[in-house]
Every structure is written in structure tokens, then in C-alpha cells.
């Protein structure tokens, strides 16, 4: 039975990253966009864990970093949701297309 190599994991994380990217570019709903950003962050987390396991098996740096990113992501979600709520209050919509006043 074949072993799961780092390449497999990297495929998964790359797929996750581009799914997130696609979501970020195509979705107009800000909550969905926030979710897409979370996907991107998690793809990075997978990379960290994978490289820690396969490249420096004796160390924990990658894991620590992952926990750090998760913490930041939680804080970021709180901020982002606050922004979204404010946007909704002022525009009565959370569609980013509606909030395009800042232009030439």
C-alpha cells in the first residue's frame, strides 16, 4: 500500500488555496468571501503542518505557527464580521458590488 507522501498533501493544500481564491474573486457576498479567505488560510496551515512533519520531524515550529495562524484567523473573522455589520448598516446590503464609492 502506497504511503501518503508530502506531494499528496501539497496537492490538497494547493487545491484548497485555489478554491479559496476562486471564491474570493467570484463571490459578491462578503460572508462567503470571508469564508473563502479562511480556506486560503487553512491551505497555508496544511502546508505548515506537512512540512513540519516531513522535513523537520523532530521540531514543532510549524505546528506552533499553525496555532498562531488559527488564532489570528479567529481575530480577523471577528473584525471582518464587524466590518460587514457596519457595511450592512450603511448600505443595507453585504454585496461588495454595492460598496464601490471609493473610485476615481
Amino acid at each position: 500500500m502506497n504511503e501518503i507522501t508530502v506531494t499528496h498533501i501539497l496537492f490538497v493544500s494547493t487545491a484548497l488555496f485555489f478554491i479559496g481564491m476562486y471564491g474570493l474573486f467570484t463571490r459578491r457576498n462578503m460572508i462567503t468571501m470571508l469564508m473563502a479567505v479562511e480556506l486560503i488560510l487553512n491551505s497555508v496551515n496544511i502546508n505548515f503542518v506537512a512540512f513540519n512533519k516531513y522535513v523537520y520531524p523532530g521540531k514543532l515550529d510549524g505546528i506552533f505557527f499553525t496555532i498562531f495562524v488559527i488564532t489570528i484567523a479567529a481575530a480577523e473573522a471577528a473584525v471582518a464580521i464587524a466590518i460587514i455589520i457596519n457595511l450592512y448598516r450603511s448600505h443595507h446590503s453585504i454585496d461588495v458590488e454595492d460598496a464601490s464609492e471609493l473610485k476615481y
Binding site: 474573486f25 461588495v96 458590488e97
Partner: protein
Amino acid sequence: MNNYLYIALIPLLPLASFLLLGLFGRKYFKTFSGTVGTGSLLASAVLSLFTAYHYFFIDGKVNGVFQKIIAFKYTWLPFSPNVSIDMGIILDPISVMMIVVVTFVSLMVHVFSLGYMKGEERFATYYAFLSLFTFSMLGLVVSSNIFQIYMFWELVGVSSFLLIGYYFEKPSAVAAAKKAFIVTRFADLGFLIGILILAFYSGTLDFGVLIQRLTSFQSPEYLNITSASFLGASMLTWGLTLVFIGGAGKSAMFPLHIWLPDAMEGPTPVSALIHAATMVVAGVYLVARLFPVFSIDVTALQIVTYVGAFSALLAAIIACTQTDIKRVLAYSTMSQIGYMMFALGVSKYGGDNGLGYMASLFHLFTHAFFKSLLFLGAGAVIHLVHSNEMKDMGGLRKLMPITHITFLIACLAIAGIPPFAGFFSKEEILSAAFNSNKLIYAVAVFTSGLTAFYMFRLYYTIFWSKDAHVHDTHHGEGTFSMKLPLLILGALALGAGFVPIASLVTSDGAALETHIDVGFSALPVLLAVAGIVLATFLYKNENSKPQSIATSFGSLYKAAYRKFYIDEVYLFITKKIIFNLIGRPAAWIDKNIVDGFMNLLATTTAKISTAIKGLQSGKVQNYALYFFGGIIGLAVLIIYLWK
């Protein structure tokens, strides 16, 4: 040596009054600003009389020769150990005489203005300007440093600009002020270059050192400046001539005299102060100040002589035809200053040869009194008649007896009738001219006859001629403050000739013996009397003779009336030649090339920004996309192309 520091107060008091009135006058001194200005000047005048007494009679003289005393000196701007711009006060016969003349005439004008300018809206401003002018003029005459004199020279120019343009709601006054400023400024350019030449070769800016170095024939500075030459003349000649051009600008010598008649747009007391007694003699003073240097350069002195004599004659001819009384006086001033100039020109340095120098300053002294009297008298007349034109006057002798008598005294003084002041000084000038240059003497004697003629033409048309037809006589002859200066100056015009200037103000400081030779004075006095008689015959009663004489002179009369078209020549040169050949091309280059380049930059930037502004769409996902594209691009660059 005594402590002379109090002399600094003489110029500083008017400065204080200027600051006080200029800053707070309109608010706090609206009614008594005249008193403030006059009071400070009265203190100055008393101090300067005291100074003169002290200098001339107590401690100015050492072994029978008046010394130059540096009363005060402060190094203001040192360039090198030897060259510095100082602020100093020099006391020598001419500067002491000048501070007395300036403070005294200025005081008379201040007092006169109390009545003349009463009720003016900007009364305080007027007195502030008068104070500023007096301060600058006093600073000028006490300067111990050639650059200091230049600074005060410019200050005098500015304050005269302000005073001429005092009635700035009148376009003609504005034009006259601008004209005076530009013409004298143009002449000052020559002055500045002259200063730089003299200072460069002598290595100093201090008057005493400069004169000492340039007049000792063995000094390296003297040898340098005389051996260097430019366009066939030595640098000494160039330097002195350029300095003289500056002086000629301020003193209204031909061909830089065109501003003086127009400057009569200012209030009349101002004309008495600036255009009779003080600023216009600054040029004479400057030449006298540098006279030891002038006296060793024959060419420069000859320029001074001929310019002076020609101006004297030209102005006298023009004065015979003018109808504005102030313009007649302006041209007579120019003519008298021409006298002073050529008297300096025919003089030599030291001893009996310095007669012309003494005569010139003597004439400056007497002229200051009788000319300011004439102007103030004219001011009183204008105050009553509300016009400057001769045709609006006539028969005023009954309405204004004091003005009439004092004006007559001044006319006799300027005509050179003994024993009035002008006689003595003019005699000295004529005898100085006679001893050195017969042509100049002839011109001077002829001009002196003309002077008598046009002054009495003025006198008769104002005070005799037809009957008075002035209806508006509510203020009569004017207030007491207007009559008092007339009386004081009248007394001086009568008596100033007896002041022994010859023993006080001479080129080398030693007293000079003068005597009046009856045989010699007979001719000029006879000519003057002839001029007066002719004027009596033509102008005492209104008749048609002057008109027919004017017609018989035809084009000559017309040319003199139009001031020999000198103004037109200036206008032609400036408007047609300079404007078209230099002004227009320069404007074209500025508009099309300099501005064009800047406009090109601006329009290019604007076009580019219009083209790319669409990128900033306000859509956040687009930005993310650009960002992402950029990252991909960088990644490709780093991975595949970074070798």
C-alpha cells in the same frame, strides 16, 4: 574729544516719530499726529543747531582747519578685516551744514503742513511719511560709509515716492510717483556700479580711508585705479562718472531731470521739502562729499561742469514758458542745482582754488531757504485758489499780504539782487566760473538774467496782473501755522547771505577770504534787473504783449513749452524701441517657450491620468485580482527568469 553720541538722536527722533505715527497714528493720534511729528522734529532741529554751534565755534577746529570727526561708528556688516559696511556719523563742515538745513527746512514744512493739510483723511500717514523722509535724509548726510549713504539714498527715494504719490487716488500722482522712482532708480544703478568700482580699487567702503587712498599719488590703490582703463577712460573716471550719474538722477540734472516737474503732483509742502531743499541737493552733496577724489580727475569734473551748466540753462529756458506755478518752481530748482553742480565742477581742491566748492555749498545753503519759501508761498496761493494754473491767479497781493511780501523777498533772493541771500552765493559761483571757464561764466550770467525774468513773470502773474476773482476766500491767507514759516523763511532769505559760510564750509576745512567786487557783480546784477524790468513791462498788467512775443518766437516757444520734447524722446525710446525690441521678444519667449514647456508637462500628466483612472474602479475584487496577478507575475519572474 567730546562725547558726540547725542547727535545720533537727530536722525533717530524722526524715525521714532515715523514708527509711532505709522503704526498707531491713524488710531490714536488722529488729530494731533501733526504735533507729534512737529515736536520730534523741533527737538531734532534744536539739537542740530546745538551741534552746529558746538562744531563750528567750539571744538571742530584744530589749528584753523575744520576736522572730520567720527562721532559714532558701528560695524554693521564686516566682509573682511578691511572691508565692512558701517553705520556711522561723520561730522565735517558739509554734514553739519546739511543737518542744520535739513532739520530746519523740514521743521518749517512740518509747521506749514499743520495748516495746509488740515482735515486730510490720512493726516497721520502724511506726517509719518514726512518723518521717514527726514530720517532718511539726515541719515544720508551724516553717513560715514559709502554704502551707508547708498542705503539712505534708496530710503530717500522710497519716501519721496510715497510722498509724491500721497494723493494716490489721482492717476497723475501715481504716474508721477512711479516716474520719479523709476528714473532715480535707474540713475542709482550707475551709483551702485560707481561705488563698486571705487570700493574694488580702493579696498574700502569708508569715506575717509577711500578718499585718503585715492588721493595720495604714491599709494598702490591710486596707481591701480588710474592705470586700469576701460573704453579709453581710466577706472577712476568711470567710477566717479557713474557716481555722478546717481547724483544727477536725484538732483534732476539733464537728461535725468524728467521726473522733477511731474513730481509736483505731491502736496505742495512736500515739494518744498523734497524738491527744493533736501533730496534734490543730495547729488550735490554726494559730489561734495567725494570732492577730494573728483578734484584729481579732470574728465569727471568736466562732465559735472557741463552737465550742470547745460541743465541750468535748459531749465531756465523751459521755466519761462510753463504755466503751472509749481512747474516753474521745479524748473527753477533744476536750474539752481545746475549752478551748484557746475560750481563744483569748476572748483579745485584746497586753498583759494576751492572757491567753487565753497560757492556751491553756500548756494545750496541759501537756496534751501528761499526755494522752500517760494514753494510754501506757492502752497499758500494754491490753498486759496485751488488751482496750480497761472490763469486762475492774479491780483492776490491784497488778499494775502504776508505771502506776497515773503514771495517777493524770495524772488529777489533767487534773482540775485543785493542784499538778498541769493546774491552772495551766486556772486561766488560766478566768480569761480569766471576764474576757470569763460564759456561757463557766460552761460551762468545769461541764465541768471533769465532766472530773474521768469521768477518775476511768476510773481506778477500771481500777485498783480488782473484783478482778483477768487470767490472762495473762506480760509483767507491761511492759519497762523502757515504764515509763521513764511515769515521765518522770509527773514532767512533776506539774511542767510550774511552767514559766513566762506569761513566755515570749504574744501579743505581752512577758512577762505572772499570779497564782493563791485565791478564784477555789476554785470549779473544789471542783467537781473533787466530781467525784472522786462517782466514788469510784460506781466505787471494784463496785456497781449506776452502772447505776441510767444507767437513771434514760434517753434522755439512751442519747443520750450513742450519741454524740448525730452519726455517724448524718453517715451519713444522706452515704448517703441525697448518695448518692441526687447520687451516683446522676451514676453514671447516667456509665454511660448518657458510656459509652453511647463504646460506640456501638465497636459501630458493629465492625459495619462485620464487614460488610467478607470483602473481605480472601487470594486474590491478587481483590486484583489490585480494583486493576485502581480503575485503570479512576480512568481513567474523569480522562478523562471531569475538566473
